[in-house]
Amino acid sequence: MEELLLETKGLTKKYKSVSAVDNVDIHIKKGSIYGLIGKNGAGKTTIMKMLAGLANPTSGSFNYVGFDGSADQAFARIGALIEAPAIQPNLSAYDNLKIKCLAYNIGDKEYIMNKLELVGLGKVGKKKAGKFSLGMKQRLGIALALVGEPDLLLLDEPINGLDPQGIVEIREMILKLNRENGITILISSHILEELSKIATDYAIINNGKIIEESTSEELKLKCRDKVVIKAAETSGIVPVLDSLGYTDYQVMDANTIYIFERLGETSALNMEIGKAGIPIDSIGVESSDLEEYFLKVTGTVGGDLI
């Protein structure tokens, strides 16, 4: 079993009587890139704020590498870029980092320059951060989050508003931080296609509740073109599939089987199952990408997503 870096237990945040986050349990493995998927107002940012200590949970807790979430060690080992980057617009990138370095009692000029180099801002000199492009500001926000060598990086919509080149740059930076620096990353994004290129694990959140938590492989499996058989009892269907020579199939639960081959032979398969005297509720080909899958499981119409 892979080592967990962080897990939440019944994490809840209420604003008066409204639950922004409701009894959330997520499990973030060390070294993973954990994608948090949800529409606007689903509770993604609130979860991140609670994990970063910026908001107090109404109830529930989170455990971080053996420490309780409220311990000093936890917050000192987390870096966060939540909502807009918190930068001083009248200061240079160097000075912005210097403020955080002094608070954390780490780093000298070389340390700060290394961080700036890491995010591609090594040559901005004394240019004021307020005059940076959106992409540069995001990168400065990430550099700020990296001060203190965090084990976990929380990135809330880091590619929002960026042009295609900016998106690619941020994506490559995230992958580099994860692979070369070993930083575990919790990332949220509206751009699911982009998220699917980097995330190793996912949680789908809707109206403050986690609907589904799965690995990238599991999600890809669910998004592949497939024949989906729904039945009250699927155990009798498996011998039929074996006898017909099907090998690429998966029993998802007691009522669902996915078949990923011979998608054009649905009618014949239906007849063979019928001949075996097994009643089925439905059979048909399903195909979806991550976005469609998300819309389906959250019961969201397309327009609500963005």
Partner: protein, 316 residues
Amino acid sequence: MLFNFARSEAYRALKMKCVWILAIVLFALCVITGFTYTKISTFNMMGVEDEELEQVMEDADYEKAMDISVNVDANNNNGEPSETGIQTGVTGAQVDSFSDLFGEGMLYKSTVAKMFKMNVTGMNAFLIMAIFAGLFAGDVYSTGVNKNNLKGMNHKGHVLAARVLVIAVYALFIQILMYAFSALTMAWWAKSLRFGFSSGFVVYFLVTYLGLLAFSVIVFAIASVTRSKAAAIAVGVVISQGILTLLSLAVNHLINKTLGWADHFALSDYMLTANIQGLSVSDSTGDIIRVAVIAAIYLVVGYGIALIVSKKRDVA
């Protein structure tokens, strides 16, 4: 941890241009105050002859001289002697020459200590600190800089203390600077430099500093509660410019009228700025202690409010 946070906050403060601009503004205010009290002949305008003024200034301080001039002004319609025995024989209307305006002001032959007192009474430092504390605290909310210091999330009290510490240091810098500017303006306008240093002045300096700090922390607390630098600066400027004192007079009048307290109750007795303005070097120990206690109460209340708000409220 407090030390690290304080270093970080001090660095942030030092990078604010207003730190230096406000020092220049303070210099300008001190120059104007100095000119007003050394070069504008207030007593001439009020009808006191130069010889009489000199005599009064020789055996009394300027405050008494001011009292005398007010009495003169009150009586000079009929030219009768005032209670002090000075007969001016002039009226306000007779002061019609522009040259009468300039000359030796009431502090022309006075000390740096008294010029410093006039700068304190003019609320120059309070105005400066209203702007600084508002900008310094308000920046936290306008830039969201708290979001970067996750280490401070479990030590919000330390973060707050670090900020108040920076404000305290800047307030002390401003107080010392104001003394230096008082000396400079005396040397410039009055061509003399008598410091008038005494133990009483040291106490006065410290108590007015405590008042300045308490006021700054109140402005800081307003910024923390409203999360707005504009609101904090606006309230701070209103208080420092005595507008609140005027309002308090109206409120005081209403209280006395509605509750029938005759005129025994004065709201201004409990107001920080009014107490600081009313304080003088020669005040009795009791009066000085009373002002110090009022300043300390304001300081504790301001700090307490800011602390409760920062601990209870989510950062973002």
